[in-house]
């Protein structure tokens, strides 16, 4: 059971206001962590620290493989003025072998030469999630993945996440909507000791 991620005594504060303090947890492959907490309790900051975007004020994070992280944030990192096809090549997923299977499953295969700007928010979110479905990194960090997804896409996402867990991938995500993926829980509201 390889340990993907180890965090001890993490604290993060902005302008002297402490978001969370003394947070320690380990993440093994094939396991998932669901980060809970009210708005502004530092969920996104924690996920940013884990994905290596920002550094904690105190404490440390050790990752088995620094670069192999897939981060899905609020912004879905698509170029509005480019077509879906161009965006796929930007996401470097266009040459992936089962790209067409996922496109069909998410009903995006017909929209390949459509400008992203003319897609609905839900469709854009599904397109952004392709980066998650076709990635090969062993640590998946998701920040509110289900926002804007319809019922059907949420099921696709949850089943995909369960699959990833069997394939020994580590998962850490924050979400208001409960994803039926069995995971340990970290509550940030209680972490402000």
């Amino acid at each position: 059971m390889k340990k993907i991620l180890a965090a001890d005594n993490l604290c993060y504060s902005i302008n002297e206001t402490k978001l969370f303090q003394g947070l320690s947890f380990d993440l093994f492959e094939g396991k998932a962590i669901h980060v809970l907490g009210g708005n502004g309790s530092g969920k996104t900051s924690l996920l940013k620290i884990i994905s290596g975007l920002s550094k904690p004020t105190r404490g440390s994070i050790t990752k088995s493989n620094k670069k192999n992280v897939c981060f899905v944030g609020h912004k879905n990192a698509l170029k509005q003025y480019l077509t879906v096809e161009d965006n796929l090549s930007l996401l470097e997923v266009d040459k992936h072998n089962d790209i067409n299977a996922f496109l069909k499953k998410l009903e995006l295969s017909k929209l390949l030469d459509v400008m992203v700007a003319s897609l609905s928010y839900g469709q854009q979110k599904k397109l952004a999630l392709l980066r998650l479905f076709l990635n090969d990194s062993d640590l998946l960090v998701l920040d509110e993945p289900c926002v804007g997804l319809d019922r059907k896409s949420q099921d696709i996402l949850c089943s995909f996440l369960r699959e990833q867990k069997e394939e020994k991938k580590a998962l850490i995500f924050s979400s208001h909507i409960s994803l039926d993926v069995d995971s340990e829980y970290i509550n940030l509201d209680k972490a402000i000791s």
């Binding site: 940013k48 994905s51 290596g52 975007l53 920002s54 550094k55 620094k66 670069k67 992280v69 981060f71 944030g73 609020h74 912004k75 879905n76 990192a77 698509l78 170029k79 509005q80 003025y81 480019l82 161009d86 090549s89 930007l90 470097e92 980066r131």
Partner: protein, 215 residues
């Protein structure tokens, strides 16, 4: 290598991004003779200073959303995670902007030079100078843009203008050298020296600034 193709793709498709500055440059250069009456004696003299100021302004406009657009739609975050050091990415981005904006502007500037001073060898002389200066301006102004990423670009230009002014002193000397007809290779190499330092150092500083922004 694929990074360069991506950046080309992104900029090429956004015509406002690269065509806009070039059109503004043409506008400024054509509007300049209108402000000075026909007698060509001082037209030639004023031409070079207008040329430098126009390049400065256009480079300011060109770098307005060089990082802002990627920052707003989140792809900057993805790149920061995927690539360890962003300086390679920043250098490619600036290089692509230079190819699509800097080179056309230098060619057009040289064309105008030929048109107004009617001596092809002076036009050919300022072409390399323009190529180097546009690249230096691009680097410096994208540094200002990166610093004031979310705060609007006026702050960016306010900060970087002082850094660029010493360069205008050098350009002023080049103009004098050209008018006197003496060879200005010395200045060319001085500009090349400045460019080589800036190309190495500024992308690193910019990537440090962007990482700080993303925190």
């Amino acid at each position: 290598m694929k990074l360069i193709n991506f950046e080309f793709l992104k900029l090429r498709k956004k015509s406002r991004g690269w065509l806009g500055p070039i059109l503004v440059f043409i506008l400024i250069m054509t509007a300049f003779p209108l402000t000075v009456e026909i007698l060509n004696k001082n037209l030639e003299q004023a031409f070079f200073s207008i040329l430098w100021i126009a390049t400065l302004l256009v480079m300011m406009l060109a770098t307005e959303d060089i990082f802002l657009e990627d920052y707003n739609d989140g792809s900057l975050e993805q790149m920061a995670i995927k690539y360890d050091s962003l300086s390679g990415l920043v250098a490619t981005k600036i290089f692509v902007y230079w190819v699509l904006i800097g080179i056309p502007i230098s060619l057009i500037g040289a064309l105008y030079g030929f048109g107004i001073t009617r001596s092809s060898e002076s036009a050919l002389q300022i072409l390399p100078i323009l190529l180097i200066t546009t690249y230096i301006f691009l680097n410096v102004f994208s540094f200002g843009n990166a610093l004031s990423l979310t705060k609007g670009s006026i702050l960016g230009t306010l900060i970087t203008m002082p850094l660029v002014l010493p360069l205008l002193v050098v350009l002023g000397k080049v103009v004098i050298a050209i008018n006197l007809g003496i060879s200005f290779l010395g200045f060319l190499f001085l500009l090349l020296g400045i460019l080589s330092i800036i190309i190495l150092i500024l992308p690193m500083i910019i990537s440090f600034v962007i990482k700080a922004h993303l925190e």
